[in-house]
């Protein structure tokens, strides 16, 4: 993984002192809250329902053991003993005090971590495929690009006061595990007909009040041109993005208002200029230098057989949580942070420390955070799997549900968030408990449920096979169902079913939707496939059946 040199290290240290000065000026009143708010947001600090919330950046979801230990330490020393992994691969602490945050950031800086630009109207954390460097279908590891984009976007003088937030994702595989089409801008590493590797750049995707699927604005950007091209997109956005209406300020609005042809034209014009000026061109040596940091560990020649274990649970776990690795004898392992009935994405400080020990014991340099709020061990020797599983089980991190119905994504919701209309975590917990039976879960198969507590869609409900949106209906928590969303390369926005369900009805409604799928599916269709084949009608009829009966 990337290692800071003296410049990166000085950068984050100075950034901490810059923020410390901003906090002093806020506490003394020299800065008003209105002035301070964008500044603290650009250091990841929100004011939430109960307390401040600090969102620490995990660039492209990659963490080392040392960094895990620091996160555990922060949780203990400054917070309430736990952290929450987010749908953008970051980690959030829910209870820091403003006066402590400069010290928290100073401690994070000692392990090459920060909270720079994890909020605010600027370029946010660059996310990437959580299987980077390990997946079989990978064209090229996306993380060197993600790291280059991270550096380019850090305190960019022209783009720190954008109309709104700007989220970038990078992927280098055929299967899109980074939800590219739902990002403001995305980079996909592709090969052209001549076999050269370059970048497809997408723009205009987004969740929120008005979800959009992004489109291609650069079909094949040559490697040296990457930053010049991305800069062109940002410049068009900064100049032309709407600033009169916060709900129309994202680039997705501009991209779809202008339309693809016009957007391409404007980006192309800026790109030509920036490229000609030459200052943002990316020499091959620089790309190679950064890529060298991400060289995979040497893979030993090992037997590709999956070891057996006396523990039946191990077998269950391998059915869902183990994914094919490009090197024989190795596997990718998903560590589920969705224990049945638990809070999705939360990890206790003891678990973080224990995972750090696990990484060290088995010679693993890194762990990943996925946007589905789980953790991933990218390079595990298959022969180590039973022992690793046993340890994960002791830690409560061995739930065998990756990709299954109980692997739910949920935002913090009204339990934590100032913006929320309804609670999301209890709904996730109840659904998880309703479907706890593992054989039922396997019968259902792949089913991604995503829950958001408000229209800001931090739970990515628009991309859920089943999406749930919490709304406030006359002071009562109500939940709207959407079906058929997908964040993969077959991206689609879920269709709203109809009127919402009360908090005591929503889990039953989800159950009826699942039953409908089980009745209608053909062959090995997943829920998503069945929905796409039969449409909303049968699901809608079944979901509202209880209401109909009650009305009669």
């Amino acid at each position: 993984m990337y290692r800071y040199d003296e410049f990166d290290a000085a950068f984050v240290r100075q950034r901490v002192e810059q923020f410390r000065f901003q906090v002093e000026r806020r506490l003394s009143g020299e800065l008003t809250e209105d002035q301070f708010k964008p500044l603290r947001l650009m250091n990841g600090l929100y004011l939430q329902l109960h307390a401040y919330m600090l969102r620490v950046a995990v660039p492209y979801g990659t963490l080392s053991a040392r960094q895990l230990r620091m996160l555990a330490h922060i949780a203990r020393k400054y917070d309430k003993g736990y952290g929450h992994f987010t749908t953008r691969q970051n980690i959030q602490f829910n209870w820091p005090k403003l006066k402590d945050v400069p010290d928290i950031l100073a401690e994070l800086a000692t392990v090459e971590m920060h909270a720079i630009q994890t909020s605010g109207n600027c370029i946010r954390n660059v996310t990437a495929d959580h299987f980077a460097g390990a997946a079989e279908d990978e064209v090229e590891d996306p993380r060197p690009v993600a790291e280059i984009v991270r550096q380019w976007s850090s305190l960019h003088p022209e783009f720190s006061f954008l109309p709104r937030k700007f989220k970038i994702a990078v992927s280098g595989a055929a299967h899109d595990r980074a939800a590219l089409k739902f990002h403001d801008m995305a980079v996909e590493i592709v090969k052209n007909e001549a076999g050269e590797t370059g970048y497809r750049v997408l723009v205009g995707g987004g969740m929120g009040r008005t979800p959009y699927i992004g489109y291609t604005v650069g079909d094949f950007v040559a490697k040296p041109d990457l930053l010049s091209f991305l800069e062109a997109v940002l410049r068009v956005y900064n100049e032309e993005g709407r600033r009169d209406n916060i709900y129309k300020a994202r680039i997705k609005i501009l991209a779809h208002t202008l339309g693809e042809a016009e957007m391409r034209r404007r980006v192309a014009r800026e790109f030509a200029e920036i490229k000609a000026a030459g200052t943002q061109q990316l020499p091959a040596e620089e790309l190679a230098r950064i890529a060298a940091y991400f060289a995979p560990p040497p893979f030993a020649a090992l037997s590709d057989e999956m070891p057996v274990s006396a523990d039946k649970d191990f077998f269950d776990w391998t059915k869902t949580n183990i994914h094919k690795h490009r090197a024989p004898g190795y596997a990718i392992a998903t560590i589920s942070l969705k224990p049945i009935g638990g809070v999705p994405g939360d990890a206790r400080h003891e678990q973080l420390d224990a995972l750090a020990d696990l990484l060290d014991r088995y010679g693993m340099a890194e762990i990943r955070v996925s946007h589905e709020q789980n953790l991933v061990l990218p390079h595990v020797r298959k022969k180590d799997l039973p022992a690793i599983f046993a340890r994960l089980k002791e830690l409560g991190l061995a739930t065998p549900n990756a990709g299954l119905i109980t692997d739910i994504i949920a935002c913090p919701g009204l339990d934590y968030c100032d913006l929320a209309n309804a609670r999301s975590i209890p709904v996730a917990q109840q659904i998880s408990e309703r479907f706890a039976d593992l054989s039922l879960q396997h019968d259902i198969g792949e089913l991604k449920i995503k829950i958001s507590g408000c229209i800001n869609a931090c739970g990515h409900h628009h991309a859920g096979h089943i999406g749930i949106l919490g709304v406030d209906k006359k002071g009562v928590e109500f939940y709207q169902l959407q079906l058929g969303g997908s964040g993969a390369e077959d991206a689609s926005i879920g269709e709203i079913m109809g009127p919402g369900f009360g908090e005591h009805e929503i889990v039953d409604a989800v159950e009826r939707v699942v039953e409908t799928y089980l009745k209608l599916r053909r062959g090995s269709e997943r829920f998503l496939d069945t929905y796409r084949r039969v449409g909303m009608e049968p699901f809608r009829n079944m979901a509202y059946r209880e209401q109909l009966h009650a009305a009669h």
Binding site: E33, Q48, L414, R423, E477
Partner: protein, 96 residues
């Protein structure tokens, strides 16, 4: 009632007799809109004094077990996350 967040640590606080308290059940209840407005104006001085941020009024009503907020959001804000009953004011979880 009138609430805000304390600037220095983000804690939820409630207006009481010209100052701020941490416990919901110790906060002043305003019988009339006029009283509430007077308090809100006074609270704005706390903002200028960098003690709190974002003071606002919210509705409460008399229930069997005492005064309770009307909105779910304020109920949760007064107590703590419903999914972690061991955290926040509900657990007498005092700031370290």
């Amino acid at each position: 009632m009138l609430t805000a967040n304390r600037l220095v640590d983000g804690d939820v606080v409630y207006w009481r007799a010209g100052g701020w308290v941490e416990a919901f059940d110790q906060g002043d209840v305003f019988a009339t809109d006029a009283d509430a407005e007077v308090a809100l104006q006074a609270a704005r001085k706390s903002v200028a004094g960098n003690v709190v941020v974002n003071p606002y009024l919210f509705e409460v009503r008399a229930e069997a077990d005492g005064i309770q907020p009307v909105k779910e959001r304020e109920i949760i804000r007064a107590a703590g996350p419903t999914v972690r009953r061991d955290l926040g004011k509900q657990a007498h979880d005092v700031s370290i």
